[in-house]
């Protein structure tokens, strides 16, 4: 990313101002049934300013980084704040003043691979799948790498730089059953640039073997029996539940927009086995999938404990929402592109592990389901959620049974979490998520397996 000394421009700040230079770089390589259909790189970068004046915000951005362009962006953002401010009937007070300083980089120290080496890497995985599993009807292997690099200063005196990359390989295997395609996808990878995340294609092969075995069982899968059932949601689903169904309802802007969580603060909303935290950067001694040290408003990022032993404790905040609720900002304000304004976003949202063993949880169920993987998830301000289930199994008399066809689970999260009766002692993180809320943004989700009651779709 082009280096710009932003401090030179602080003399132009006439009100609360954030100035951010950002560059997002992505690499995409894809093979569809052996055909190299995608082979692209892209870079999107520029500068933005956001100004707060008497309760109104102005924002402006440009991809140009010359001195006059940066100056004009600060002026345009200031003019925009004044345009709205001059029409406001009631002004608002100032934002909380915070100052933080930090530099973080997860860039690799290894030599960077060329595009050809990346394409050959993905091709080797594709060849392996084609050779080892000749009965597949189809396969896709896609690489997606994203580097997000930022440099920010604020009129409060905050400054930070960050380089947060992530690298993922998405593999879908498809087999035919009675003329119908049956497929299963799996994501590999996580935080870091490609060279640090993927050592060699063969490292993925055991995971692909497991994916194939699941697919073969799914090919013989049965429809789930629709209704409210006792289920073990594996770690990936618990993480999505934490993010989609609880996390979003406790983002302070959603709370102000009428979320059900507004009425529940300080109340029992879940089983005492449930503690749910939006981690800033480090959880249980490990760096999270999307580490945030200072947010895009210049606030030091702190862990936000949302539910503590079943009690709803707090919300996630930007400076403005923290001011409204008269609490400290939590460092949750993040923007996706240089041309996006910071919004209240989750970072790494997880249910904390408990003490049960997964096998004991399964053994405790006479008739239910073990649900492993989701293909999408959605929830709303009531905490009613829906997750698509890509992979799951019946549980009969305490043992895993047949695989099930794709289905959906749903429920009201604050009710479902009250039915949690066991929480496993293992923690699993996923960093492939891209959350949508006006802008997309990478998020981490984590959790143990939880045993609970949910509605499952069927036929």
């Amino acid at each position: 990313m082009t280096t710009v000394d932003l401090q030179d421009y602080s003399r132009l700040f006439s009100s609360y101002t954030e100035l951010r230079v950002q560059e997002n770089r992505s690499v995409r390589v894809g093979f569809v049934k052996g055909n190299n259909t995608v082979n692209t790189r892209s870079t999107t970068g520029g500068v933005s300013a956001r100004v707060y004046k008497n309760g109104s915000w102005g924002f402006a951005s440009t991809p140009e980084l010359q001195k006059d362009a940066i100056e004009s962006v600060i002026k345009a953002a200031t003019d925009n704040a004044e345009f709205l401010g001059s029409r406001r009937e009631h002004s608002k007070g100032p934002l909380p003043v915070v100052a933080a300083s930090h530099d973080s980089s997860f860039a690799t120290n290894k030599p960077r691979l060329t595009q050809k080496q990346l394409v050959d890497f993905i091709k080797e995985i594709d060849d392996h799948i084609a050779t080892r599993y000749p009965n597949l009807q189809s396969r896709t292997v896609f690489l997606n790498c994203l580097d997000m690099e930022k440099s920010v200063i604020t009129s409060d005196g905050s400054r930070f730089t960050s380089m947060t990359p992530r690298s993922h390989i998405y593999i879908t295997l498809c087999v035919e059953k009675d003329g119908e395609p049956v497929d299963l996808y799996q994501v590999y990878g996580g935080l870091g640039q490609f060279e640090d995340v993927f050592e060699s294609p063969s490292v993925l092969f055991p995971g692909i073997e497991e994916q194939y075995e699941h697919l073969m069982r799914k090919r013989e899968g049965v429809y789930a029996d629709a209704g409210v059932r006792t289920c073990v949601l594996d770690a990936e689903l618990a993480g999505i539940l934490a993010h989609e169904a609880i996390g979003h309802t406790t983002e302070a802007d959603i709370v102000l927009g009428g979320s059900v969580a507004k009425q529940l603060l300080g109340k029992e909303v879940a089983s005492p086995l449930i503690t749910l935290v939006d981690f800033a950067n480090t959880a249980l001694g490990q760096t999270c999938p999307v580490p945030v040290y200072v947010d895009d408003e210049g606030t030091k990022a702190e862990d936000a404990v949302i539910i503590d032993k079943g009690i709803l404790k707090s919300f996630m905040h930007s400076k403005e929402s923290a001011s409204h609720f008269n609490v400290a900002p939590t460092g949750n304000a993040r923007a996706y592109q240089f041309s996006d304004e910071p919004l209240i976003r989750m970072r790494n949202t997880a249910i904390l592990p408990g003490t049960s063993k997964l096998e004991d949880m399964i053994a405790s169920i006479d008739d239910g389901y073990y649900l492993i993987r989701s293909n999408n998830g959605e929830a709303d301000s009531t905490s009613e959620f829906m997750f698509g289930i890509e992979l799951g199994y019946e549980i009969k008399n305490g043992k895993l049974g047949r695989a099930i066809k794709n289905t959906t689970i749903s429920g009201v999260a604050y009710n479902v979490l009250k039915t949690v009766s066991m929480v496993s002692d293992e923690m699993h993180w996923s960093g492939a998520g891209m959350c949508g809320k006006k802008q997309p943004i990478p998020v981490g989700m984590g959790g143990p397996a939880v045993k609970c009651q949910v509605s499952i779709g069927g036929r």
């Binding site: 109104s56 402006a60 951005s61 140009e64 925009n80 709205l84 293909n375 301000s381 009613e384 066809k405």
Partner: protein, 435 residues
């Protein structure tokens, strides 16, 4: 905004020339210069005005049947020079595939639609009026996020076969997300959007905005459906995409090339009820927010995708067409116009013995065969031809490919979203389950 068209054309041409000089067999450039003005309402207040300028330069090359693409957000000489060098390396790394190609030469053309500049005062006044009207008409509504924006974009598509298209477009977009709360009860988040060429009408009167606000007020007190039954579903215009997206997605390059599309050999066959005729009309006057040029570099044309239930074609681009030997589509889908039916919406409701009015769907991605299930959100139970009450915690499941064939009626009324024009469509044979 930089309205220096001549300068933009020089950049696009210079990029194309540089690609050919660097050794490309074929090349395409797509330069987009855009400017967006956006007013935001957060928690009921107009609190943010954004102005963003964007440059997007996309370069594509084919060299020895190897394909490479690069996108950058700058258009200065040094950036272009580096991008040209990089994209040649990217292409050199690809595995060859004879199916990659660029559009053949067409007559150069300029396309214009919409206003050139935003009316910021009118935008502010319309938003303020919207907040006031919602407050008076629906006092229990919380406006979670409301956005009114104007985007002006100049696009230049050129390729080494002689394609030379310029598009100048200005469009307003309005998006509203809201819920209602009464006592301790909160309705599900609801929302809709509409595109328009002017601000002549009040925002609340656009698209389905007023209808959805009214419904949200009713939806603070919901009940789950009891039991499980097979019934009818009337799909509202706002829920259309959730139900019919599977069909459109299955017609595109990805599923057809990977051989996972159940529709790849269905052209000429009945794929929906014979009541359904559906067009893609990106260049029609009735579509405010269409497109003139496909991403492959063809001048888009209107087409009929489904005529009286029969699939008339796939939605393949150049690659998918050449790879599979099937016809290339004359557009890239979208801009959907569904022909109206011959029943009123109230007649459609009256014809339902037991079912739901599906206003929004929170659904899992269907599998490749179309099996799917999802939660009916912001929706209503229909019994004995009457809308009974708003529902919650109720799911629907079906095979979408089968459901498309079970159309029992299409309404005369349609909603104009600016980017599509959609009626209410009733389907039978859907499994509906509650608690």
């Amino acid at each position: 905004m930089r309205h220096d068209v001549e300068k933009d054309v020089r950049i696009a041409k210079r990029s194309l020339e540089a690609l050919m000089k660097a050794g490309a067999d074929k090349a395409q450039t797509n330069l987009s210069i855009s400017e967006k003005h956006e007013m935001n309402i957060e928690a009921g207040e107009i609190n943010l005005l954004r102005t963003t300028f964007n440059t997007s330069l996309h370069l594509g090359v084919i060299k020895d049947s190897r394909n490479g693409h690069i996108g950058i957000s700058s258009s200065d000489e040094a950036s272009i020079e580096k991008a040209v060098s990089d994209v040649m390396d990217i292409a050199a790394g690809a595995h060859p595939d004879e199916a990659h190609d660029i559009a053949e030469r067409q007559e150069p053309a300029e396309f214009c639609k919409g206003p050139l500049e935003p009316d910021l005062d009118a935008m502010y006044d319309r938003l303020k009026s919207f907040v006031a009207t919602v407050g008076q008409r629906y006092p229990t509504i919380n406006l979670r996020q409301v956005i009114l924006s104007f985007t002006r974009s100049n696009n230049y598509v050129m390729n080494s076969n002689g394609v030379d298209f310029k598009t100048f477009k200005g469009i307003y977009h309005f998006v509203a997300m809201f819920s209602a709360s009464e006592d301790d009860k909160v309705s599900s988040l609801n929302g809709t959007g509409v595109s328009m060429l002017d601000l002549d009408r009040e925002l609340i009167d656009c698209g389905s905005v007023d209808m959805l606000l009214k419904q949200s007020v009713e939806q603070t007190a919901t009940r789950p459906i009891e039991g499980k039954f097979v019934g009818d579903v009337i799909v509202t215009p706002d829920a259309f995409g959730s139900i019919w997206g599977f069909l459109f997605g299955s017609l595109t390059d990805g599923p057809v090339v990977s051989d996972t599309s159940i529709y790849k050999d269905k052209v000429g066959e009945l794929v929906a009820g014979p009541q359904l005729t559906l067009h893609c009309r990106p260049v029609a006057d009735e579509i405010a927010d269409g497109y003139f040029v496909t991403s492959d570099g063809y001048a888009a044309q209107n087409s009929t995708l489904i005529e009286r239930g029969v699939l008339k074609g796939l939605l393949l681009g150049i690659y998918g067409s050449r790879k599979t030997g099937r016809a290339r589509a004359v557009n890239q889908g979208g801009a959907i116009v569904v022909e109206p039916g011959n029943q009123s919406l109230s007649d459609l409701v009256r014809s339902v013995e037991r079912g739901i009015l599906l206003c929004r769907l929170s659904g899992g991605a269907p599998n490749s065969y179309g099996d799917f299930s999802g939660v009916a959100k912001n929706s209503y139970l229909i019994e004995d031809g009457e809308i009974k009450y708003p529902i919650s915690e109720s799911m629907i499941s079906c095979n979408l490919a089968e459901a498309y064939k079970n159309i029992t009626g299409i309404s005369r009324e349609r909603v104009d979203f600016g980017s599509s024009i959609i009626p209410w469509i009733a389907l039978s044979g859907v499994t509906i389950s509650g608690k």
